[in-house]
Structure formats: structure tokens, C-alpha cells
Symmetry: C2
Subunit: 199 residues, 2 copies
């Protein structure tokens, strides 16, 4: 685009690659940034660079953080006997906003999918089994999305855990069919957790 | 929010201050960035920092660029006899996307507003008058938004130019009442420019 200058256009093009932003909203965002250079643009650029440098997956649960173990895995206030299994970090954040769960997490990094040829080894399922064996886990809560792949994955994990001395539950009431956790309001997630049922 | 870590949460909070992004879309954008650290997050942070450092308003027209004179004011392909007056840089970009205008611009930086106590001295109107006197300008195209303030500003400028040897026109056909240039499709802007009428 003429008029914006090459550097500014390059910035707009990068912004337009964010989910939810198209070319027009990227332009508006960049103009806003240019108007708030000191208050917003520089702090945002710096925050983004720092997070890019420092953030990494927690070696225990797959949550993101800036240390080897994430804040949740480090916290002594969280019970180690309950593991809540989620598809991705967005779902972990959604569970945390609900504020109802006080255990630890396990982020799978996706779901099993025949179509996309995603098998258990492609997710963090073997590592989940190791954690359950090692950590004195008494309950595994499968907080997977109510999609076909999410439920396939939940059943696969429940099958793997058959015969082990661990209660397997799933979120129940309140998660609509086809619904994705990250789109639910916080109260709904809390209610679904409290009403979780054994599989 | 627990779970995201302080650094990541700070980044989400900054992203949520961009127009068109709320807390949820900011979270999704940050998760996307975290997944594309090398391809998107680092380049975006760097591009943003560079633009924040280098960009400044063109001393001639108020467009943004990385040098004293913007690319349009530097270009010898652009006629100097026509000045297109716009409210802000977003409108200049919208005109450029139309591709129909081959002259130079003048960015006012807003509109006159009794309510917000914005007078001619608060905009770049005196500088516009200087440019018109100095540059051998033959036509001033008032490409202001079809809002009350936009039209008040257009009439004020047209009044100031009365008696000067310069044709004053405005965008005509195709700009809907209350419409903002930045929301129009590119063809509409081109048509409005070609059908401009003398005030
Ligand atoms: Zn962790
Ligand atoms: Zn310029």
C-alpha cells in the first residue's frame, strides 16, 4: 500500500496475521499504536520480545511459563492428587478463570484425530500416564472439549486408565454439545466441574 | 489471571488495549503468538519497536513516515498542484487504496468541534493555508468525512479560501451520509473522487 511507508506496511501485514484481525483492523490497530507510542506501542513491543525470549512449556504439565516448572506446578497450595487434562493452554486458562479447580493440570497439546493422523504419541498422553503412576494421583478429570475429537480422546485416556487405582471423571453439566471451553463463561465451567461425573 | 504467568498476563493486558481486541481475543492472539514464536512473535515485536523508534509525522503534510518528508511528498510522480485534505492518516491510506488521486495530501489531525473545543489552530489548518499560498496549488479537494464535524470543517476551509485563486472541491458521489472514508470500499472512493464537485 502506498502512503503507509514500507516499515509501517510490514507491521500492518504482521498484525493482520493475528487471529481475529484482518487487514482493516490491523491498520486501525497500527494507527492506534502510532498515536500511543510511549504508552502502548513501545511497552507492547518490549513485552512481546521478553515473553518470546522467556516463555517455555512447563516440563511437568505443558502449561506455559518462564521457568522449568510453571506457577501452578510450583504452587504448594495446589493438590497433587487431582490432574485436570485439557487440550491446550487456552483451556487451562479458561479452567483457571473458573477458579473452581485447585489441583494440577496436564496439557495434551491437541486431540487424537484419525483425519489429521494425530496419535497418542503425538500428544502428551504417555507423559500423562507416567505422571499418574508417579504422583499419587487419585483423580483424573478429563476437561476436553465436547467435540468428536475431544470425546474420542477422553475415551481413549479413560480406557488406558482402566484397572488403575484412579477415579476418572469428566466435566458434565453445562458444557454444551460442540462447545469449546474457552468460549464458556466462567460460572458455567465452575458448575460443570462441581457436577463432574465418573466415566 | 492465574495460570498464564505474570509476563504473559501483562502482554495479554497490553494487547487487549488495541482497538477491536477484547480480553478474550487478546488471549487468543497471545496464544497464537506463543505458537508462532519464530515466525510471527519475534518479527512482530521487532517490527513494532522499529516503527515506534523511526516513524514521525511528515513536516509537510502530516502523513506518517520514517523521514522528514513522507514518501508521497518526496515522490516526483505526484502533482503538487492538487492537495487532498483529510482528517487523519487512516483516511489518507483509504484514499491511496482507491489509487485515483495523484496529488499530495494534507492531514488535519481531526476536525473542528465546538463540543470538544477544537479550533482551527488545534488542527493543521494554518499550515494548510501556508502550503496553498506557497506551492502553486490550483485545486484543494476536501476529502472529509460526511459527519457534522467533517462538513463543518470543510465549510470552514472553503470559506477561508474564498477569494484565493484556487478551486475548492469535495468528494461527492458515493460517500454515504455519516459514512467514514476508512470503511468504504476502494472503488467507491475512486468514484467519489472522479465525481468531485466544486463547492
Ligand atoms: Zn506445570
Ligand atoms: Zn508528506
Amino acid at each position: 500500500m502506498a502512503g503507509a511507508g514500507e516499515d509501517v506496511q510490514a507491521l500492518i501485514d504482521l498484525m493482520a496475521r493475528l487471529p481475529g484481525l484482518g487487514p482493516r483492523s490491523a491498520r486501525r490497530a497500527v494507527l492506534h499504536l502510532l498515536k500511543k507510542r510511549g504508552q502502548l506501542m513501545r511497552p507492547l513491543a518490549q513485552s512481546m520480545a521478553e515473553v518470546a525470549d522467556r516463555v517455555r512449556p512447563c516440563i511437568n504439565c505443558g502449561n506455559i511459563g518462564t521457568e522449568e516448572l510453571c506457577a501452578i506446578c510450583q504452587s504448594e497450595k495446589r493438590t497433587t492428587g487431582e490432574i485436570c487434562v485439557v487440550e491446550d493452554v487456552a483451556d487451562l486458562w479458561a479452567m483457571e478463570r473458573g477458579g473452581a479447580f485447585r489441583g494440577r493440570y496436564h496439557v495434551l497439546g491437541g486431540t487424537l484425530s484419525a483425519l489429521d493422523a494425530v496419535g497418542p504419541e503425538d500428544l502428551r498422553i504417555p507423559h500423562l500416564m507416567d505422571r499418574i503412576a508417579a504422583d499419587g494421583v487419585t483423580e483424573v478429570i478429563l476437561a476436553l472439549n465436547a467435540t468428536v475429537d475431544g470425546q474420542t480422546t477422553a475415551h481413549y485416556i479413560a480406557d488406558q486408565l482402566q484397572g488403575r487405582d484412579v477415579t476418572v471423571t469428566s466435566l458434565a453439566q453445562g458444557v454444551p454439545i460442540g462447545g469449546e471451553l474457552d468460549y464458556l463463561d466462567d460460572g458455567t465451567i465452575g458448575a460443570a466441574l462441581r457436577a463432574r461425573k465418573q466415566i
